[in-house]
Each structure stands twice: as structure tokens, then as C-alpha cells.
Symmetry: C2
Subunit: 220 residues, 2 copies
């Protein structure tokens, strides 16, 4: 198919398709003339994946490139999963530094909490993991906010997170090693976060409404 049809089929504008080509996210079409290329089903599939990762998954172009590279060079489902796990962006912005002494104190306390939690959960992750760093930053900020987080409560969240991660991995690992199936594994790992967040927000809305049930639910 021509680029115009590829655009219609996937809902991705021609300009975006050309941009993804230039950024190395999408392989070239088969050249049929100096300025024409023929695209196939693999381009449709790849474009859908790019769109899912960038819009639903919220990945940057650079992170998307890393994930796709992991999919393309995957020699086993496990190595793909591992690469994807690190290529996905970690959802905590590094906050600007405040008073240095308090900062160091809050950082040390947060790091100790994270280490204690990881030990309690028996999670085998290196101290250099971006996820360890992200969680430490988040807890440090909560400490600076004087927000009441307690490690035993955090452990309850951690158990729930573990249950979700196990479900995700079971689904992702059920796919075998062909590229199309590796792509499905990417979708599971990258999109279960946004999906879970939406479900949590729905459940939260339900529970908030039950606490103040004065309104007709369909009038809101």
C-alpha cells in the first residue's frame, strides 16, 4: 500500500509516519520509484504499536525507540521482557533540591525505607535500578511534605503491586518468541500501568460517591 493508505488504515497522519521513519522507529517501505515506497502489514502493525506506546503508554520517542530495538533484537521472550522493563519510563520527576542538610537526611531515611521494603518483599533488584531510585525519590518527597506514609501501609500496596506484576508477566510470557508476539508482550507491560491507574480512579470515584450519595449518579 502507499503511504496515504497506510495513514488511513492506522489513523496516523502522513507527516507523523515520515517523522517516525526519520527517527528510525519504522522500517523503510519497499522502494517502487525514486519517491514512492510500498508498505505492508508489518508497517501497519508497527505503527499501531508506536501509537500505543506513545499515546497510551506515554513513552517518549527515545523510550519508544529503545523498546522497539529490544523487540527487534529479542533472542528470547525473557530477554525481551527484561529489556522492556528497563526501557519503560520511570514515572517520577526529579524534584529540585531544597535545604541541603534536610535534603540529605530525608534522602537517607527514604533510602533506608526502600531497602527495608525490598528486603521484606524479597525483591531481587539491584540498588542501581531506576525503579529503586524512583521510589526513593517519591518517598523522600513525601517525607519533605510531612505526609504520613507508614512502611507497613506501603507493604500492603507492595503486595497488591506484586499481584498485578505477576498477572502481567503471566500474560506477557505466554507469548512465544516471534516478533509479533514480542510486540504483544510490550503492550501488556507498557499499558497495564495506565489501565490499572484508570481502574483505580474508577474505584476511587465509586467509593467517594458512596460516602456522599446525595446525588443521582447519572446527573453528575
Amino acid at each position: 500500500m502507499k503511504i496515504s493508505e497506510l495513514s488511513r488504515t492506522t489513523g496516523v497522519p502522513v507527516a507523523s509516519i515520515k517523522y517516525f521513519r526519520r527517527q528510525g522507529l519504522l522500517p523503510a517501505g519497499r522502494a517502487t520509484a525514486a519517491t514512492l515506497a510500498e508498505y505492508g502489514e508489518e508497517h501497519v502493525q508497527r505503527l499501531r504499536l508506536i501509537k500505543a506506546l506513545t499515546t497510551l503508554g506515554g513513552l517518549s520517542i527515545a523510550a519508544t525507540r529503545d523498546v522497539l530495538a529490544a523487540v527487534d533484537r529479542s533472542d528470547s521472550a525473557d530477554s525481551t521482557l527484561k529489556a522492556i522493563s528497563y526501557a519503560l519510563p520511570v514515572p517520577v520527576a526529579q524534584a529540585p533540591a531544597g535545604d541541603e542538610e534536610r535534603e540529605a537526611e530525608a534522602e537517607a531515611a527514604a533510602a533506608a525505607d526502600v531497602a527495608e521494603l525490598i528486603a521484606a518483599m524479597d525483591w531481587r533488584v539491584p540498588s542501581t535500578s531506576p525503579h529503586v531510585h524512583g521510589l526513593t525519590t517519591a518517598l523522600r518527597e513525601l517525607r519533605r511534605l510531612d505526609a504520613d506514609y507508614r512502611l507497613d501501609r506501603l507493604a500492603v500496596y507492595a503486595e497488591l503491586a506484586k499481584a498485578v506484576a505477576r498477572l502481567d508477566l503471566e500474560r506477557a510470557a505466554a507469548f512465544d518468541d516471534s516478533p509479533a508476539l514480542a510486540e504483544q508482550a510490550v503492550v501488556v507491560l507498557a499499558l497495564s500501568g495506565p489501565l490499572l491507574e484508570l481502574l483505580r480512579r474508577l474505584a476511587q470515584e465509586d467509593q467517594v460517591r458512596r460516602r456522599s450519595p446525595e446525588e443521582d449518579p447519572d446527573a453528575g
Copy 2:
């Protein structure tokens, strides 16, 4: 304290403090001269909250303003929780439209799935809820990706999401109606999403590593 000290205490640059003032997020200090103002502990607390919402919570300035307005006018803990629940951003970007017929079909199927899930969970949310819309969009995109999501699996995630939401609400509702405590409730509701996501990613990393345990965990 002067603005420079407020900046040092909170780690927020003076230019950002002035920006938050102009955007109406931070109340004015007590004027002590034509160009000088005196700030107090309430400004420190508010700035920390603004920082947490914008950096950790990922809220836009507009969403932060909505949440703070809800905190300030809160007449009860429940009304604050409700306002916050809607002011927080919904984490799904609206994807560009593709082929119209397939689009409408995928949208209708996704909407039916969401309705079935909400009924199964007995969640009392209006069909106009931004969270219902967000989840419908996410499922529609998964359908267009031919990603294998099954409603019974989604229900398992929904149960976990419900457990998290219940924990959040218990914590948030434990605070009483004073503004400082309403702020804590905001922190719980806005930041439990990022926290849960980080814990899920840590659990995922652990499980991926256990599947391919060839490396020393601290060498990565």
C-alpha cells in the same frame, strides 16, 4: 520570612514562587513595603503541596489550581475528596482517529466492555465520568492493536484496583476538615497512583529477573 528564605526552605526557585503567585496557586505574603512581602509557615506548606502535585503527581498548573481550590473551599472532607477525584488528570491521551467504520465498531465494543465491567463491580459512577471515558479509550486502543485483553482478566485487575482505592480512601478520610489535613488527603489521592506504579515496576523487575537469573543482581 522573605521570599529568598521561602525559596531556600522549600527548594523552589524564587522565579517559580513568583510564577505560582501570578497563577493564583499561592496566596500573597503580608506586604511589609512596596516591593517586599513576609511569608509564613502556611506558604511553606502550600509550596510543598504545589511541588508534590506538579512533580510527583504530574499535574498541570490548571489541574493543580483546581485541586487547591477544592482544598480551600472544602466544607467537608467528603466534598473535598469528591472535588479532588475529578480534578486529578485522567491518564489517557485521546488517540487520533483512524478508519471511521472500524473506529465506531471498536468504540462501541469497548464501551460495552466498560459497562459490563462496571456492572460486575457494582461501581456507581455516571456514564459521563472522565474515568469511564478514559477507560473506554484505552480499551478501544487495545482492540485496535489486536491486543488480547479479556474481560475476566480485566476484572482481576479491577479487584486489585478496588483494594488500593479502599486503602487510599481510608487513609484520606481519616484526616479531619482543617485545611492542613485536607492537604494531606490530596497527597494521598494524587500520589498513590505514582507510588503504586513504582511498586508495580519494582515487582515486575523482580519477576523478570527471576525468570532469567543468570546475572548477579548487583552487577546490573
